[in-house]
Amino acid sequence: MRSGDFRTSYEADMAVFDTALARWLLAGFVAALLLFPLIGTSFWLDVSSRVGIAVIAALGLNILTGFTGQISLGNAAFLAVGAYTTAWLAGKGVPFIIAMYVSGLVSALVGMVFGIPSLRLKGLYLAIATLAAHFIVAFTVVHWEAVTGGVNGISIPPAQIGSFTFDSDQRLYYVILAAAIFHLWFAKNLFRTRMGKAFIAVRDHDISAEVMGVDVFRHKLYAFGVSSFFVGVAGSLLAYQAKIISPENFPLSVAIDQLGMIIIGGLGSVLGSIFGAVFITLLPEVLRIVTGALAGQLPQLVQLFAALKLGVFGLTIVLFLIFEPDGMAARWHRIKAYWKLYPFSY
């Protein structure tokens, strides 16, 4: 039986997955994800791939908004920058990994430019500046037809490394899974070292952070950069997965969905980004299945689906904010703490 934990070195004390059990559980979970394509239908493979992409995008947003406290409504825009960069590069025959990371970099750059107002703006004013970023990027996407294909969109050839192409849903699923795991691991490390802690310090008390020797403006810009990099990578994967992208892939509601993910999952929590992305991506799919099943008795449900989807999303957000404002990750930690000392939890 486990009875609390005792450690003998700082090194062991600072490990991310701190017990053997945690490590085994994680290994089991990853194994299940690896085996999933062997049994999953193509529908669920598609959904899981979108979940994986959403995890990376939500994690990116959480780095900026949850960890650094800079509210952003510009995530759909940064996603679009990553996706269109990939579309353009892949069209030129640039190999997959390079296209993905260059897309991340371009998105990071755009993110940092729109992060400049954060030097003087806080809270609501910054949120609105990022909203402006959204509309400006959306305008550019529609009008820069030579690169983006305008309203008609642009198609993306399959991801390719050397002579190997990721042309099936299965192969792409593994790419997305690997990317998600890698970026989660990177973020987890980031927040236990210097720069990540500086981000959190800026969020919790910016004046105090500055007085502790953290260059606050510079770290806000870094946060915009790192965040948009993650989101740009997600955008790149989205382009490969969707095969055709157009402005319709990046409406403002995408940015709001992703804010919803980090709110529901947990602001400032890597784990919460996963929970939230899974939850919000699955919500409409589950709703679709439920309305499909009920369509026999209530045929009007099919017509109301769009309204239902929107309403359920809004209601979920509002209910979470009122009843579980710290998100699913906080609840998870409470349950974990309970089991750690079970049966002597009190």
Binding site: R194, K197, V211, M212
Partner: protein
């Protein structure tokens, strides 16, 4: 050379002067107190020294260098540290993490060495942890090192704020009412820590404090502010006997 030299500093908010032509100096190794009634401008003065406020006139010199126009973070790198009157800890971090932010500018780990947590990044993180642990021992807060600070009692949070400032390894430490709101026992502990920092580590200290007993016991010299103006300075015995101070500050008892 003085550790700190403030020359003719004035600060205005709208119509009112928070500070008016304040001049003071602090020698290396000194423990100096700033006292004065509520709203006298004490915190504003500390804010001007640490760079949170920009004085409207006058200059601040630190180790002979004019820092009046430097941002707070740069002054911190030069060796300045402070605590806040209203606790300004990073509320959602643990005690350890708060103190690790204090090590920020002593460290080099960046995005990639941190994100990949390999070689230098990992070694540095462990080495810094040792430095922080020494301060934790010094201030006797071992039992809370992994606690999130907003869950701690007020007096303990004050102590953690001192710990975080010490993690900077400053040569000049500014304390804004370090004992406010503490009970007698906590005050005694805090006074002992402040004295130890000053005597053992040789850190120069400027302290704002309302508790006259503490101020008279600890400080080498005292500056008195009233309505933004300096009205007296000198050793505790001199200030205690000053008529103007008695009227302005000690108020009723003196009159």
């Amino acid at each position: 050379m003085h550790r700190l030299e403030i020359d003719g500093v004035s600060l205005r908010f709208g119509g009112i002067y928070a500070l008016q032509d304040v001049t003071m100096h602090v020698a290396p190794g000194e423990l100096v107190a700033i006292i004065g009634p509520n709203g006298a401008g004490k915190t504003s003065l500390i804010n001007c020294i640490s760079g949170v406020y920009r004085p409207w006139a006058g200059s601040v010199r630190f180790d002979g260098r004019d820092v009046t126009r430097l941002p707070p973070a740069t002054r911190t790198r030069l060796g300045l540290a402070r605590t806040f009157q209203n606790i300004a800890l990073f509320q959602h971090m643990t005690v350890l993490e708060n103190m690790m932010v204090g090590r920020h500018f002593h460290q080099k780990t960046g995005l990639f060495t941190g994100g990949f947590y390999y070689g230098p990044g990992r070694r540095e993180e462990i080495a810094e942890r040792k430095i922080v642990e020494d301060i934790i021992d010094f201030l006797e807060i071992e039992h809370v090192r992994k606690k999130i600070v907003h869950t701690l009692a007020y007096g303990l949070q004050k102590r953690v704020e001192l710990a975080r400032a010490l993690a900077l390894e400053p040569s000049l430490l500014l304390l804004d009412e370090p004992m406010a709101g503490m009970n007698a026992e906590e005050k005694e502990d805090m006074a002992r820590f402040i004295l130890d920092v000053n005597e053992e580590k040789g850190t120069t200290i400027v302290m704002i404090e309302h508790d006259m007993g503490v101020v008279m016991d600890l400080s080498h010299r005292i500056y008195v502010l009233n309505f933004g103006k300096k009205i007296a300075e000198g050793e505790p015995s001199v200030v205690r006997g000053n008529r103007e101070v008695q009227v302005a500050y000690l108020g009723a008892d003196a009159a």
